[in-house]
């Protein structure tokens, strides 16, 4: 019994802030109305965030599925070097890459662009995603595609028709991690986006606290917190199993 008392008290401590924020945001209904009209309009920021997240998830899945297949099934020169270079992304501070990326994306015409931000997110997701996908392909028996290859099927057809279906659980995990990272990240869009209409949600809502010279509307702020948090909470609760698999794989970034 003492166990359950302790656990319930801890659960209350962990859940209380979320419950309070939800309640505070709804205490006055106009919080959400004001939130909707804030700055360039909630719709703009929401669209930006959705666009970046969709591009990040799609890009990460595309690159890591092809790459995972390459690393699991083929021998090619430079293979180990490329894998190490990808894992090295984990070793380098975020800021150390983002300062030059701000300049570099300007060179290739992607300054202040949602596409640029999504590409950067794909890069940051790549170590985890490639590791997950390589392991998923390696876990498949070779016989699975061998029959098709012997029959003259190209490796790409075997990949598309047979293997991709078999690694679907790993793709859900990779996609979920990519979504949560791109939807929530604050630092990369803060540095790479510099025009109010192009901001993603976290940057826009944080700017409510820092650019207003008058009083901060705390109720509206919690409405912003809820708009950011609720999609993640729902996705996490629905896909919890797939999330935990990401932890089991041993490929993590802090």
């Amino acid at each position: 019994m003492r166990y359950y008392t302790t656990m319930s008290a801890l659960a209350v401590l962990f859940l209380f802030p979320l419950v309070w924020s939800g309640w505070a945001s709804m205490e006055e209904p106009h919080n959400y109305v004001e939130m909707a009209g804030f700055g360039e309009g909630l719709g703009t920021y929401l669209t930006n965030s959705v666009v970046v997240s969709v591009m990040t998830v799609a890009g990460t899945l595309f690159v890591s599925a092809l790459g995972g297949y390459a690393f699991a099934r083929f021998a090619f020169p430079g293979k180990n070097l490329l894998f190490l270079a990808t894992l090295a992304i984990l070793m380098v501070p975020y800021a150390t890459v983002l300062i030059p990326l701000y300049v570099l994306l300007g060179y290739i015409g992607l300054q202040n662009s949602l596409v640029g931000v999504a590409l950067v997110f794909v890069m940051f997701q790549l170590p985890f995603a490639l590791f997950m996908m390589r392991n998923a392909f390696e876990a498949l028996p070779k016989e699975l595609e061998e029959a098709a290859l012997v029959d003259g099927c190209t490796t790409f057809r075997a990949f598309l028709r047979i293997l991709l279906r078999a690694v679907r659980p790993a793709m859900v995990t990779v996609g979920l991690f990519a979504f949560l990272a791109s939807w929530n990240d604050f630092f990369a869009p803060l540095i790479l986006l510099n025009d109010g209409a192009g901001f993603t949600l976290p940057v826009a809502v944080v700017s409510m606290t820092q650019n207003t010279f008058g009083a901060i509307d705390y109720g509206m702020l919690q409405a912003g917190v809820m708009v950011m948090a609720i999609p993640c909470l729902i996705l996490f609760l629905v896909l919890q199993r797939h999330y935990v698999r990401g932890f089991m794989s041993g490929a993590l970034r802090g």
Partner: protein, 312 residues
């Protein structure tokens, strides 16, 4: 599908004679591997390796946010020593890293041990402890920003009702309170995350080992000291490395929650890099700081791996 493609496949290869001829280049292992790995290589080279080279080059130049860059090596490095904000930030970040790593690790280990065994309702508690981890860190910081506000938030009234305080508390008004509040925020957001990491390690310990110890009459404490801790060592090492790295690179919590204040008392190293680059428009100086941070971090990670992964 297999039976359908068989005749076509044979016909395409022109019977048995093709077994002698070498396959065309695109059928060769190496070439195919490279084709599939090409998107990965492109991303890694263009968006990771090229920026690493560029940040090195930028650090050797006077590189204003707008306008031409001019070589000024090694001025960006020598002026780091004259940057009092950075020196303070290094000290503050180290202090923060030590405190957060110790507190967070102990708390997460406690949680992991509490939810380790399967019993009714434990799944709910695991989810409850982890749930803050699903919320973005920026959103979590904004949530605490409102929650700890004396006029708007619920914490002051609750503590007053309980008789713990009798006047409003300025949760981010003094350097010590700002640090304390930030630690609370980080604990709330990351304890479940670290608990989950430790839990994967705990579950990898075979149940038979525990059972054997129990039949030998070992106490709970002895089991924890002699079995759980040693077998959990690699997982603890992973958690410590992630916590140290994450804390040394702390930005969001101080930028959003305390905004570096009061009086620049909570300015982290990455915040100085950000301020140099985008408030003082000195990208060269920011690049030099980034290079120093990179070297320090790689050295520290190598050292940590060496110390923590060594068997007892």
């Amino acid at each position: 599908m297999t039976t359908l493609t068989r005749p076509r496949g044979r016909a395409a290869r022109g019977g048995s004679s093709s077994a002698v001829a070498p396959p065309p280049w695109w059928r060769r292992q190496g070439a195919q591997g490279w084709l599939y790995a090409a998107p990965t290589a492109l991303i890694v080279v263009v968006l990771f390796l090229a920026p690493l080279v560029l940040v090195g080059w930028m650090s050797l130049n006077r590189w204003p946010l707008l306008g031409e860059a001019t070589l000024n090596a090694p001025a960006n490095y020598t002026k780091i020593a004259d940057n009092p904000l950075f020196a303070d930030a290094v000290w503050f970040t180290l202090k923060y890293t030590v405190i957060i790593t110790v507190v967070l690790s102990l708390f997460a280990l406690g949680l992991a041990l509490l939810v380790q065994e399967r019993r009714p309702g434990v799944g709910f508690f695991r989810t409850a402890f982890f749930l803050p981890g699903a919320v973005g860190f920026a959103a979590a910081a904004l949530l605490f920003y409102g929650m700890l506000n004396s006029d708007f938030g619920p914490i002051d009234p609750i503590l007053r009702t309980l008789g713990i305080i009798d006047e409003p508390v300025s949760w981010i008004g003094t350097p010590n309170m700002a640090l304390f509040s930030t630690i609370t925020l980080v604990l709330w957001r990351f304890a479940g995350f670290n608990m989950l990491i430790l839990l994967t390690g705990l579950q990898a310990i075979p149940v038979a080992v525990y059972e054997a110890a129990r039949t030998d009459g070992a106490s709970r404490w002895v089991i924890f000291r002699r079995i759980t801790l040693p077998l959990l060592r690699p997982t603890i090492a992973l958690m410590l490395i992630m916590s140290v790295t994450g804390s040394l690179l702390a930005f969001d919590q101080f930028f959003i929650f305390t905004n570096g204040g009061p009086d620049n008392s909570t300015v982290s190293m990455v915040m100085v890099i950000y301020r140099d680059a985008f408030l003082r428009f000195d990208l060269g100086g920011a690049a030099a700081l980034s290079v120093v941070l990179l070297i320090a971090l790689v050295a520290l990670n190598a050292l940590q791996l060496r110390v923590l992964r060594r068997p007892e």
